[in-house]
């Protein structure tokens, strides 16, 4: 390991009622990529926020270049060359690229008028944009950029502060494979320029691909580290959960082709020129793969009635049904576990009990007046069934961990009579332990006769959990793979489509990523 330029020593941080970090140490060498892994709530983000000046540590020491430093706020961190790229991008999308890069540090002109010197911004941003490989004029409005491009702007911003240590918190969670690969290239370039990167991710194959060293956190404590040669999937999982976790697929369920739900010529208003015809068999988990923006969530929203289809029908039990609203969908037993659970899945400032009973509140009411006791009974039953860990049914949903929140969304639906459940990215932002539980729940539901459609961008998940895989691209269904044909190449080939495979080598590159 090169001489450390950054050392965090025995950092502890307490929040009211919880010790978020205790005695955590981390050191980073110049030009080193250190991956920080751990389950949700392990303290990764807290540690990085202490480094970035968002929080202050209660105990412990931070050294930069061997000198002890105090980081009291974000400006202090910037001065020391530390830059954070948050999980949720903190860009202002009403400004242009240059305005974002120089936000808060705008070069001024006009003397006492303090006007923003746009010319200077444009000139200087161009250099940084070149470095990160974003070939757009600096006056491009940020709202017209893809998430990947916005991320590049964030990195350009970090470079413009002369950052020597860049922290990336789940940077790939909304990137496509090509964009992810571009990011890795950039990390390699940063590395050779002597910039250190702390890389936080749940996606172990990415860590495998880019990290020089892995540091694990568990329950707010160091759980060990791995040198470059020791990095592999199993050893990382061990660091995170302290046990081996078997995500390998069991036998494939063929499903009962006679009992099925069909989408026939369904046209979503997002992609009016394509119609989707898809069959889900009872007993199977149908995976729905594709790149971000392939129209999978849009299909889910159409089936669930968020947007009205322009045409086509949904056939359940041999009967064609029309879905005009989520209410209709729910009445037919079609439920959606949405991608963004905090925004769409739950009302996070309401109690668990109220969230569980919300979809079918009339069931708990006499003449419109809700019976608290009957609500509580169902809520407790569901929490127990799904082993949601919480103090009581009156806990607010926002105080749950990511995995428990996801189970709470499911609890809402399982207290009803599900026929088809669409899972949209069911394990995004969910820790490894809860992931396995959610997979088990999906499998049990499928076995009990519930139709399962699982949208996922996580290749491991798609290949490991699905019994068949449908692949979409740009709003069109490109094909359905049977279990015997499963491979990353096959899925990617459909996802990027023949015309693009030559110039866009995402598929082949991705295979090299996986490693083990």
């Amino acid at each position: 390991m090169p001489e450390p330029i950054l050392e965090l020593q025995r950092i502890s941080k307490r929040f009211p009622g919880v010790v978020a970090l205790s005695d955590v140490s981390l050191s980073v060498g110049a030009g080193e990529v250190v991956a920080l892994i751990g389950e949700n709530g392990a303290g990764k983000s807290t540690l990085m926020k202490i480094l970035g000046g968002v929080y202050q540590a209660d105990e412990g020491m931070i050294r930069v270049d061997g000198r002890e430093v105090q980081i009291r706020n974000v400006a202090d961190a910037q001065k020391l060359g530390v830059s954070l790229i948050h999980q949720e991008l903190n860009n202002l999308d009403n400004l242009d690229i240059g305005g974002n890069i120089f936000l808060g540090r705008e070069p001024l002109s006009g003397g006492f008028l303090c006007l923003v010197d746009r010319k200077k911004i444009a000139e200087q941003s161009r250099g940084y944009l070149e470095k990160v490989g974003l070939n757009l004029p600096p006056w491009t409005s940020l709202s017209s950029l893809s998430i990947a491009q916005q991320q590049l702007v964030e990195i350009a911003k970090a470079l413009s502060t002369n950052a020597r240590i860049i922290v990336m918190d789940e940077p790939t969670s909304s990137l496509t494979l090509t964009e992810t690969n571009r990011l890795f290239q950039l990390i390699a370039e940063l590395k050779s320029a002597g910039v250190s990167v702390i890389y936080i991710s749940h996606r172990l194959m990415e860590v495998n691909a880019c990290a020089d060293r892995v540091v694990g956190l568990r329950d707010g404590k160091n759980s060990g580290q791995l040198a470059k040669s020791e990095i592999n999937h199993d050893s990382m999982v061990r660091l995170m959960v302290g046990r081996n976790l078997d995500l390998k697929r069991t036998e494939t369920r063929l499903g009962d082709p006679r009992n099925r739900i069909e989408f026939r010529d369904l046209v979503s208003p997002f992609f009016p020129s394509h119609s989707i015809t898809l069959t889900i068999r009872q007993g199977e988990i149908l995976g729905l793969a594709g790149l971000v923006g392939a129209g999978r969530s849009e299909l889910a929203m159409t089936v669930f009635g968020i947007t009205r289809p322009l045409g086509g029908e949904i056939i359940i039990d041999g009967k064609s049904i029309q879905v005009h609203s989520p209410r209709d969908a729910i009445a037919h037993g079609i439920y959606l576990v949405p991608e963004d659970r905090r925004k769409n899945g739950l009302i996070i400032s309401m109690a668990l009990r109220e969230n569980v009973t919300l979809p079918d509140l009339w069931r708990y009411a006499n003449f419109g007046v809700i019976s608290y006791a009957s609500e509580l009974r169902t809520a407790e039953e569901q929490l127990k069934k799904l082993s949601i860990k919480t103090a009581s049914c009156e806990t607010l949903a926002k105080n749950l961990s990511g995995g428990n929140q996801q189970k709470l969304v499911l609890a809402k639906w399982l207290s009803l009579r599900p026929k088809l459940i669409i899972f949209d990215e069911p394990t995004r932002g969910v820790d490894v332990g809860s992931k396995a539980e959610i997979y088990r729940l999906m499998r049990n539901l499928a076995d009990s006769g519930v139709f399962i459609l699982m949208i996922s961008s996580d290749m491991e998940e798609v290949l490991g959990v699905s019994d068949r895989i449908a692949v979409m691209r740009e709003g069109a269904l490109m094909g359905v793979l049977e279990a015997k044909d499963f491979s990353e190449e096959a899925v990617m080939w459909l996802a990027v489509a023949p015309v693009q495979t030559n110039k866009d080598s995402a598929a082949s590159r991705h295979t090299t990523l996986k490693g083990s």
């Binding site: 009211p16 009622g17 919880v18 010790v19 978020a20 205790s22 709530g41 329950d219 707010g220 669930f304 968020i306 609203s325 989520p326 209410r327 969908a329 729910i330 009445a331 959606l336 949405p338 925004k343 769409n344 899945g345 739950l346 009302i347 996070i348 400032s349 309401m350 109220e354 919300l358 979809p359 079918d360 509140l361 009339w362 009411a365 419109g368 007046v369 809700i370 860990k389 919480t390 103090a391 009581s392 806990t395 607010l396 105080n399 749950l400 961990s401 428990n404 809402k412």
Partner: protein, 339 residues
Amino acid sequence: MVAIFLGLFVGYALLETSQRGFAATLANPVFLGQANLLNLTRSIGLFGIFSVAMGTVIITGGIDLSVGSMFALLGVILAYLLGPDNIPWPLAVAIILLLSMVIGLFHGVLVSRARLQAFVVTLCGLLAYRGLARFISSDQTVGFGSNTGFELLRTLATGSIFNLPAPFILFLVVCVVMGVVLHSSVYGRYLYAIGRNEEAALYSGINTRLIVTSAYVLCALLTGISAILIGFYTNSISPASHGSFFELYAVAACVLGGCSLRGGEGSILGIFIGTAMIQLLRNIVNLQGIDSSLEFVVMGGVIMIAVSLDQVLGARRRNREARVDLRGAPADAAPAAKR
């Protein structure tokens, strides 16, 4: 809720520094005199009903700024119906309530279907309805004079039941009914759910458009009832000033009572106390002989201080609650809580 008690305290402190002192006010035979207490409770009743109405839309994350102008418009129409047109009062009341619901429906549809901002929609209402009222009445004051034939309405506004002002009794009834509706009914739960996260409510199968629209209709209906009471209370309606700024009294009562203009927060008890607080303040300002032009200064100051303190104390309370949540949780939900 904290705001309410702080508000009381702050109001007290303000008055303590004024010339006569608060203790003097309480000891003032006029304040405790039956006449004053009756006046006070009557105005609490009159202002309370439409404050509760305002609360319903504020809970969904909306607002209704047109309340005061609706008083003018509905008041003028009522005066015409009962006066020159000589329509039987039950029919007149029915027409007024129907008309108010139509206005509410109009607001609701624009907010929930056309996705216009409630502030804008009802601001337009604020301008339009008062203008309409002035046009209809040719900007002349209209009234009920001493006409007969609708004594019941007059009693409801100015009379007493069981020695209590009738509007106050009506307000209590509204509070009880709306308390059940907001806090224990399916409909009420939907209102709060929408106020906190409309999208998640939609994803849970709630017909959010219908519920939001109905909240505006309900608000307008209660406003219509208030319009009748206030019309008879003043007995004459000058369209240019009748009920003007009343919507702001209602918003103030809601905010003081713990409603958040972001939606999803607030309770009937809070709105009740908020209304009482504001009327009490007005009453004290009057009795203190403070220049009546300072009334709004006192109110503005008290609300601002109360709400600021509530914000500070609220943050503490939430911390405490989060701690309680963690205490009972199993080990991995709060890994270090046990240590």
